[in-house]
């Protein structure tokens, strides 16, 4: 399979997978397309960061920051809780495969690889936490300042 086809397939499956998870999380029908596109864009940012030479942690922080901003903005425009968009969007960057390889290497007692995959899992998980929190704090600060200015 050529590189282009593989990349196209990755984005297509990221879209479909996010849509699937949005359905599993019982997201309202009207928000399904937004959530699925959000998941795909989040993966795009992640992929671009990795291609640009960022570490796993940095790539996770960037994409999670984008995802947090995206969900905050959609939540305000479409008047829904932020979680409705945040949870499906996060799915493509959740380190599911690293988690599996961590476990597999633990069972086969391959401790060098076990440590490697465990570190990667933790790195991405921490990156997602930091990125989304930063976005949330940033947005609330922005609105706080805006309201302050308006009152004056």
């Amino acid at each position: 399979m050529s590189e282009t086809v593989r990349t196209f397939l990755e984005f297509l499956t990221a879209f479909l997978g996010t849509l699937g998870f949005a359905l599993v999380f019982r997201v309202h029908y009207k928000h399904l397309p937004v959530a699925a596109v959000g998941g795909m864009l989040t993966y795009l940012i992640y992929k671009l960061a990795v291609i640009g030479g960022a570490s796993l942690l940095a790539a996770a922080v960037f994409s999670a920051f984008f995802m947090g901003l995206f969900s905050e903005i959609c939540a305000r425009i479409l008047r829904a809780p932020m979680a409705v968009f945040l949870l499906p969007c996060a799915i493509p960057i959740v380190p599911g495969s690293y988690l599996y390889y961590t476990m597999e290497n633990l069972i086969t007692q391959n401790f060098a690889d076990f440590r490697f995959y465990l570190m990667n899992t933790l790195e991405v998980a921490i990156g997602i936490a930091v990125g989304t929190s930063a976005a949330t704090i940033g947005v609330s600060l922005f609105f706080y300042c805006k309201n302050k200015c308006r009152k004056k």
Partner: protein, 264 residues
Amino acid sequence: MTNENVIAQGKTSDFCDDLLRIAMDIGEGLLKNGAEVHRVEDSVTRICRAYGAVHTEVFCIHSVIIAAARMADGAYSSQIRRIQSVSNNLSALEDFNALSRKICSGEYSFEEADELIRNIKNRKPYPLFFVLFGGILAAGAFAVFFGGSWRDGIVAAIIGLIITTIDNLKLPHLNPMAKTLLLSFLAGTLSSLSVRIGPGENTDMIIIGTIMLLIPGLALGNALRDLVGGDTLAGTLRIVQSCLSAVMIAIGYTLALLLTGGAF
């Protein structure tokens, strides 16, 4: 809603009880369907205030809400709600959140608010067909996403359907941890066997596709937002809960792989 309205309804402790009951109904609806603790505490407080409570105290963790309200004339009520299980139901979360905003805006009388809550509880549930289809799509797509072939995708989709179906059965006596263990054991066994028998190609890709359905994403996401939002106790409890369920998933898959001898 202003104080005159409250006087018209009689500022008795009965009203205080009813008010707190309504506020708790909304809080329960939010928490049950996956809201963070801060949102629940905030909603309950605002609703009580909107109908004339002068003092409210709310404390909430993932499994319980404790609230007390005092009216201007000194009528006092305190109630506890125990929440048995938290589910992923973001459309219900959205509905309860919208209702909470509506009620807080003060456009509705107390009776109307009561009626609205009853309506929301009797609303037609999210079609199960959609959820099952979501399970198929999610597992199948992610098996291919992480590098599996189309045959892996189809096998993962079928296993995804089985997992989501069992997950949505009403099994009140089954402990949630045991359920996670059982589901991951089942998924692991089926993935491994499918490769042995023929239809699947890579056990790891099929497993990764199905593992995504079991990872407690909602609980972990809420845990982090609770922690960052300053609700340390609730966040810690949820983190412990989701780590335990991650351990259960690992044990389930490990047992399955060891028994069927797949992948090694």
